[in-house]
């Protein structure tokens, strides 16, 4: 039998969990961004799977996936700009040492 909606949703959940774990655990700021990208890819899989299986003709889920891709690209651009600015100022991107806002 062909894989059903549940298969894709479980794949999406597993991928999202891996990305969440990396985001919480990793100390390098670039790696945190990479893990956020993985989470967004998981969300895209879920959106496209819903669009394919629940509303195959209307394509609204795929439209949402396009907007997710746009926002993800923008988020990466601004996030890497912030990381590079931080690196210029403090010569590290270790999130343990970036504690300007810590009290």
């Amino acid at each position: 039998m062909a894989p059903g909606l549940e298969h894709y949703l479980i794949l999406s959940a597993v991928l999202f969990s891996i990305g969440l774990f990396g985001t919480v655990v990793k100390r390098s700021a670039v790696l945190i961004l990479i893990c956020i990208e993985i989470m967004l890819a998981a969300v895209n899989i879920a959106l496209v799977a819903f669009s394919r299986f629940i509303t195959p003709v209307e394509l609204t889920g795929q439209l949402f996936a396009i907007f997710v891709i746009v926002v993800a690209a923008a988020e990466v651009a601004i996030g890497l700009a912030i990381i590079l600015a931080l690196y210029r100022q403090r010569h590290t991107i270790d999130t343990k040492k970036i504690d300007l806002l810590k009290w």
């Binding site: 039998m1 062909a2 894989p3 909606l5 549940e6 298969h7 479980i10 794949l11 959940a13 597993v14 991928l15 999202f16 969990s17 891996i18 990305g19 969440l20 774990f21 990396g22 919480v24 990793k26 100390r27 390098s28 670039v30 790696l31 990479i34 893990c35 990208e37 993985i38 890819a41 895209n44 899989i45 496209v48 669009s51 394919r52 299986f53 629940i54 509303t55 195959p56 003709v57 209307e58 394509l59 439209l63 996936a65 396009i66 907007f67 891709i69 746009v70 926002v71 993800a72 690209a73 923008a74 651009a77 601004i78 700009a81 912030i82 590079l84 600015a85 690196y87 270790d94 999130t95």
Partner: protein, 163 residues
């Protein structure tokens, strides 16, 4: 049958490369594994008959985002230092495991109203019609244009050399 093989193969590649990203100490290899993960995700989109999303995924995420990330890894010289984890490894693992089990339980126990209609194929023209024929998405396109231009200006301002 072919769909099934493709699904399981691509799922194995996606989960394996994502685990590799988290597991890998070398940052550069983690970025390469991210590209593998994105490509396999594009394959999943293809077998979900979402051809335009697959192409956009390859062009934007593999072509632009991953290159940007690799470039910034090189610029920040973090390759040598690697990517160590913090002390929260075990609690985060437990929490994320509970989260994943909850989501998977919810997915399995829900009865989805799966439609039997064959999907729209190819999707590019249909997506363009949906975006621009006045069904409420034109405003979102305008908003994303404003967002992109402000992101570009913001990145330039952030990285401008101070005199």
């Amino acid at each position: 049958m072919g769909l099934q093989i493709a699904f399981w193969l691509l799922s194995a590649i996606i989960v394996g490369s994502a685990l590799g990203v988290v597991w890998q100490i070398n940052l550069f290899r983690a970025a390469i594994l991210l590209i593998v993960c994105f490509l396999a995700t594009a394959g999943i989109f293809v077998i979900l008959s979402a051809d335009f999303i697959a192409a956009a995924q390859v062009i934007i995420n593999v072509g632009a985002v991953a290159i940007l990330i690799i470039l910034s890894i090189m610029l920040t010289r973090e390759v040598t230092r690697g990517s160590p984890s913090n002390r929260m490894g075990l609690p985060a693992f437990i929490l994320v495991g509970v989260f994943a089990v909850c989501v998977i339980f919810g997915v399995i126990t829900t009865t989805w109203s799966v439609s039997k209609v064959p999907p729209t194929e190819p999707t590019t023209a249909a997506l363009a019609n949906l975006l621009l024929d006045g069904s409420g998405f034109v405003f979102v396109i305008q908003l994303s244009a404003i967002m992109l231009i402000s992101i570009i200006i913001g990145a330039i301002v952030l990285l401008k050399e101070k005199e």
